[in-house]
Symmetry: C2
Subunit: 227 residues, 2 copies
DNA sequence: CCATATTAATCATTCGATTAATTTAGTCAA
DNA sequence: TTGACTAAATTAATCGAATGATTAATATGG
């Protein structure tokens, strides 16, 4: 068991700072966010950032450790299911394809639920920022989240297509499949204007999922060999 | 004719500032970039930013006007070709599909050449930043670049699939097709690590294009109706 | 009682903007 | 061609505001 200690005074301020920092950093980025604004949002004295995290950079790093652990919690169930299914996969190519597609849609659900949750809006923006200028925090994200997600997806793509999962072709296909979905969240500014959508809600996500399913079906219904 | 005047002293500093700002803003974002660093990179006095552009914000806006005009120059030829082909499109569904795919690949070429050009690395990062926190500059980008590109692509998707080009289905499909490509540039941090690639070069882009072609072929080889 | 935690105040920097003085380049009269 | 006049452009210096970090004093709670 993990210790069910009541959180100490220090733990409370640490958590308050992390949550506030998540929001403020996500809203304005690392440079534009001021430690004073974060402390105010957390209802805490500004000097405590230095005391608990060593400084602005340390707080930023702490935020990503928090994000990573939260995402891992959410990913764990579906990741376990995928691995279990991969072990006991059927032999019939058609069945394998259908199973892989179902699991991809399961992963889709987990991630879109995660991204769509308004309380995690801060996450998304922070992660996207890191994509463009990888700092030290990016390594944490990649090693614990992205690389695992991609490995999982690549195995499913391999299962659905018959490709070798480590081949360049398979990896490119995997990224493309991910890109089809992520663009709706990454290029949110463009997609919301173009689709005339509000912020991503259940009905827009359902519409995306429907098309995603169809695209997967047509993509794997035939081989992936060169013409 | 446009005036072939030799650029005045002011024009030269304006241009030097724009180029330097493109680089510095792209490298560090609006807030982290200092006007002093930009002026130094341009080999120019810092006060001239205020004199020529009214301030940091004005310079930022100026950079995007510069980007938009450059991108429009590059897009013009292929956009013209697409529109011409759309007018004189064949009736045979198979021929229409092949033509649409060829034009999509042409657009792919123009954009990847643009993005891949090292001299335009600044563009890309700036545009991606705007996606996440749309400022006033985003409106300029969307109206002149993105909305036109999407409209063009949507017409091609409609032509290849038989969908109505203004339908939600067609627009989602269009964004998905775009996402398959853009992820390699947007999530560059992740893709380079995952693919074990260096910065996007001709051979990596060729590999992406090959898969893109195959995906398009399998996606449009059959209908897009619900199962 | 004492380690942990918090507070208010202050530090040195850096930022964007502005000012006043100076230089440059183009125009026109002689 | 020359030389004065002027508007445009550039420069160095400085302004006030805001930043992250740090300190010394104080408070809290086991």
């Amino acid at each position: 068991m993990t210790e069910p200690k009541p959180p100490s005074r220090g733990d409370q301020t640490r958590e308050a700072l992390l949550l506030a920092a998540l929001d403020v950093f996500g809203r304005s980025g690392f440079d534009a966010a001021s430690t004073r604004a974060i402390a105010r949002a957390a209802g805490v004295n500004q000097a405590l950032i230095g005391y608990h995290f060593g400084g602005k950079q340390g707080l930023y790093q702490g935020v990503f450790e928090h994000i990573v652990s939260q995402m891992q919690l959410r990913m764990a169930p579906v990741a376990g299911e995928v691995l279990r299914c991969l072990d006991t996969a059927p032999d019939n190519p058609a069945e394998r394809r259908d199973l892989a597609m179902r699991l991809m849609l399961d992963i889709f659900d987990v991630y879109t639920n995660m991204i769509g949750d308004p309380s995690s809006a801060g996450w998304v923006r922070l992660i996207l920022r890191e994509q463009q200028d990888p700092t030290q925090a990016f390594q944490l994200l990649y090693d614990n989240i992205f690389s695992r997600l991609l490995a999982l997806l690549a195995r499913l793509v391999a299962m659905a297509s018959g490709l070798e999962q480590t081949s360049e072709t398979c990896r490119i296909r995997t990224l493309m499949i991910l890109g089809q979905i992520l663009i709706f969240f990454i290029a949110r500014g463009t997609t919301t204007r173009y689709m005339d959508w509000g912020p991503p809600g259940p009905e827009t996500i359902a519409a995306i999922k429907r098309q995603f399913h169809l695209v997967l079906a047509s993509q794997f219904s035939q081989g992936v060999a060169a013409p």
